[in-house]
Amino acid sequence: MSESAEVMTFDNAAAMGLSRAEWDLIEKRLGRTPNLCELGIFSAMWSEHCSYKSSKKWLKTLPVDGPQVVQGPGENAGAVDIGDGLSAIFKIESHNHPSFIEPYQGAATGVGGILRDVFTMGARPIALLNALRFGDADHEKTRHLVGGVVAGIGGYGNCIGIPTVGGEVNFNKSYNGNILVNAMAVGLANSDRIFRSAATGPGNPVIYVGAKTGRDGIHGATMASAEFSDETESKRPTVQVGDPFTGKLLMEACLELMASDSVLSIQDMGAAGLTSSSVEMASKGGLGMEIDLDLVPAREAEMSAYELMLSESQERMLMVLKPDATETARAIFDKWDLDFMPIGKVTETGRLVLLKDGGIACDIPIGPLVDDAPEYDRPHHDAPTRPVFASQNLAGDKSVSAVLLEMIGHIDLASRRWIYEQYDSQVMADTLAGPGGDAALVRVHGSRRGLALTTDCTPRYVESDPKTGGMQAVAEAYRNISAVGATPLAITNNLNFGNPEKPEIMTQLVQSVIGMGDAARHLNTPVVSGNVSLYNETDGTAIQPCPVIGMVGVIDDVATAAGTAFTAAGETIFVVGQTANKTDGWLGASIYQAHYGDATIYAVPPVDLDAEERHGTFVRTHIVNGLITAAHDISDGGLAVAVTEMAMHSKFGAAIDAGDDAISHSWAFGEDQGRYIVTTQDAAGLAAAAATAGVEVTKIGVVTDRQELKFGAADTISLAALIEAYEGRLPALMA
C-alpha cells in the first residue's frame, strides 16, 4: 500500500520519541491521524533538538540585545557589528553523539554543519574553533576517540580551507561513554548584505542546491523499532559522511550567488534536513510551501517521502530566489558542478504540501509544527551547597617547583600541540595568533582590525555550583579576549547537559543559564546564537555539565595586541586583581585539588563580575597603549602555571616571590578568579595607572634571561624540564 495511506498509531509515535500528549495534540491539530511522513515531520520538529522544548523557557532569560547586535538568536547564526560596516557572524553547535559512534565522520560533519550555518547568512567563514571533552585519559576508548575526532575536525577544516585557530579540551571520566564535540565557526559579511531564512513572495521558486540526498542520517534506531521498518532498515548507516570538497564548492557557489542579488532567503539543511529547512523558512515568512519530492535530487533509488524529508545528507541548501534569477543561479551552480533543482514554490496557504508519485504525501498546517511545539517547565530545585575547602598544603612538603613539574604534565594542563598541529591554523594568511595562547587573533582581511576568538568552560566548577560555573565560563572567555587587548563583543553558547527530565540535571541547566545570563548582561556580551545538547548520559549517569561559551572580541589595530610570551628580560611581572598582602589562594575545585586531593566536590572560587569588568578593562587599555607588554589570564592551575606558560612560550625565565612570605601552595596554585599576569617595562607607571583605575596590582617578580623559573630565594627549576613534562603528556597518551 502507498506510504501516504499507512495509518500511524501511538506506538509509531512513541517509537519516534513522542509522548502520548504530543500524539493526541497532533491528531487534534490535523483532525485526523498522520501518515508516516507527516508523523516523521512532527516528531523531528518537536524533538528536543529542533524545538528546544526543555530549554526554551530558560534561553528566553538570556540577554540578546545591545548596540553591537545586528542579529540575535533565531537565525542560522548571530551577527555583531565590528565597525567599517562589517559584521562578525558566528555560532557554535554540538555533534556529540555522532562523534562517539564514528569519531572522524561525526566531528568532520559537525564542522561542515556549523560552517554552513555561517555562510548561509552570507558570511565568508574566516575561523573555526572547537570545545572537546573526552573520558579518562586511560579509559580504553579515549585514545581512539581523541585520534578520530581531531583528525575529523582537521579533515574537514583543512580541506575546505578555513583555519582552525583555537579551542579547548578536557578529560574526565564522566565523558567515558559520551564525549562532547562542539564546533564554532566565525565569518565576516557586510552588515547590509546579511541573508536570512524567512521565505517571501508567494509563487517564488524554492530551489534545492548542493549534494544529492541519500539515506544517511535517517534515525535508524527509530526506524528499526517501528513496525513499518523493513529488513534492510537496520543495516542502513545512521552516521552521515562529510564531503569537505563538495562543502567548499557549495560555499563558493553560495557566496558567488549571494553577491549577485538573486537570493530572497536561504537556509542550510542541518538537523532534520529538508523538514526543518522548509518548515523554518515557511513559518518565519508566515507562509506555506509546496514541494514536489519527485524533483529532489536523490542518490539512491525509491526513496520514500519519509526518507527524503528526514535524511541528514550533508552539503545541501534550500533557497527562495527572485523569480527572474533562476538562470543566473543555475549557471553559477553548474560552474561548480553542484545540483541545482527548483523543487517547489512558496504558497499563501500556511501549509506544508508534499507531492510524490502524483499523489499528496503530506499536507499539514505549518503553524502547529512550530507554534504548538511543546515547551516544558521541567522540575528543578536549588543547587546543593558545597563545603568550602580550607586552603592547605596537600602535596606534603614538596617544593613549589616540584609540584609545578607534576602539575604541568596534568592531562588538563599539558600542551595541546599534538592536537592543534593537526589543524591548518594559518590558511587564509590572516591568523596572527593561532592556538596555544589565550584568545586567537585573526586579522580582518585587508585591514588593521582584528577579531579575538575563544571558547571556554570549566565543567568541574559547573558541577559544583552551576550558577557560578555559568558565570565563570563567560568571565574566563572575557579574560581571554581582554588578555590579547581586544574588546569583548558578544557570545554564542552550547549547553551540554544530561537528561533534563531529572530535576538535578534540570537544576544544572537552569542555574548555569542564570549565571551565564548575569555575566553576559554585566559584561555587555549579549548572546547572539547557540545550541543545546541534552540527554548526554550513559547507563543513567550524566556528563559533567558543560555550558560552553564562545566569545568574539575586536581590536582596532592588531599591531597593538599582546601575547602571552614574555618579551624582554628585566621587565616587571605583576598580578592584576590581587592584593599585596594575599598569602594564600582558593584551592577548592582546583586542578591542584583534583591532582592531590580527595574526590569531594568543594565550593568553587567566587566570581565578582564588577572586578572582572574593572580588571579586564584595565588590562585591555594598557595593552593597547603599550604599558603592558605581555598578558595571560590566571585560570586552571593558578598563578604559578600561568607564569610557567608565559616563560615556556618565550625565550625567558622568571624570578617569582610573594613579598616577605614563603610561597604557599595555595598562593601558587589557587584558582581565585578575575586575575591576570602582566609584564611591563614601567613598573611605577603600571602601579600608578592601577591606583587611578582602582585596580589591585601586585609585583610578584621579574623576567630573567635564564632558562629557569625561581620561586622565592632558592627554589629553581629549568624550563627544559618543565617543557619536557608539558609537551610530553599528550604525545605519550596518543603514542
Binding site: Q105, A211, G214, D216, R236, D243, R299, E300
Partner: protein, 83 residues
Amino acid sequence: MQAIVNISLKNGVLDPQGRAISHALGDLGFSEVADVRVGKQIQLDIDETDPARLRQRVARMCETLLSNTVIEDYSIEIPDENK
C-alpha cells in the same frame, strides 16, 4: 600465509571519492563509466599455516581494527586456501 582483506563502504554510504573519480574519467573521455566506488585492499603476511584458523584470526582483526564496521563492510580472501 597470505590473507587479503577487501574493505568497501556500506551501501548507502556516500562515496565522494568515487564520485570525483567517475567525473574525472568522464572528462578524460571514458564516457562509458557509470559508477565508481573506492575501497581499501589490505594484504597481510601472517605466520599461520592453517587456512581455517587464519580466516578466523583475520576476521577478528577486521572487527577490532581493520574495518570501521559503522560504515564499512569487509571480505576476506585466502589465496592458498584451496591448494
